[in-house]
């Protein structure tokens, strides 16, 4: 079974803090993604990575950065957390088999981040 783990299920931080959300997968998938999920807005893509040390901006990258030093690990960084970044954050992975993206994504359990 594909396993995608996220470092915390619940996290509470203060405004201005630097926050790290970690995602680790054990299936050797090339592609990894970070989404935030908010009621009524669904899953919105923040950043994704096609390979180690590669990253691409998604639809809402402002206020976030990412790091992928190893294939199995993809980190989301909130440089200076703000209250509007309170949300559920989901990591996902996908096997790459050429252009077209025809493989399913596997999601982690999510991290519910509250910024006070």
């Amino acid at each position: 079974d594909v396993k995608v783990t996220q470092s915390s299920r619940y996290l509470v931080k203060r405004t201005g803090e630097k926050v790290f959300l970690e995602c680790v997968q054990d299936m050797d998938h090339e592609n990894m993604f970070w989404y935030r999920q908010d009621p009524g807005l669904g899953l919105r893509l923040i950043y994704f990575s096609y390979d180690v040390k590669m990253k691409e901006k998604g639809d809402i990258p402002e206020g976030y950065s990412v790091s992928r030093e190893k294939k199995e690990r993809f980190s989301l960084i909130l440089e200076s957390a703000s209250t509007n970044q309170t949300s559920m954050y989901l990591c996902a992975t996908k096997l790459f088999t050429g252009t077209g993206g025809y493989n399913e994504q596997f999601f982690g359990p999510g991290t519910r981040l509250t910024v006070l």
């Binding site: 025809y102 994504q105 999601f107």
Partner: protein, 105 residues
Amino acid sequence: QQPVQSPQAVILREGEDAVINCSSSKALYSVHWYRQKHGEAPVFLMILLKGGEQKGHEKISASFNEKKQQSSLYLTASQLSYSGTYFCGTEDMRFGAGTRLTVKP
């Protein structure tokens, strides 16, 4: 660009049917469907690749229109276990806003 889903929410009694729609302003290479139960991660249901395609199980199936701009998810004779939020996704990993399905006894 995110696909557009409708309806936003639907409430059913057990045994009733539901249809969830997903549309895009441009033709898609593929459309994916996922279900997320409360407090859990989204789980893949199926993918459609071809215009005019229909696939799925007996009670949960989906279609992809010829122009590949619309897909529908059909839930037949719904069960309590069908409750959750359903998302459609595109090949560039964008998702719709979701449809919350509640099945009541």
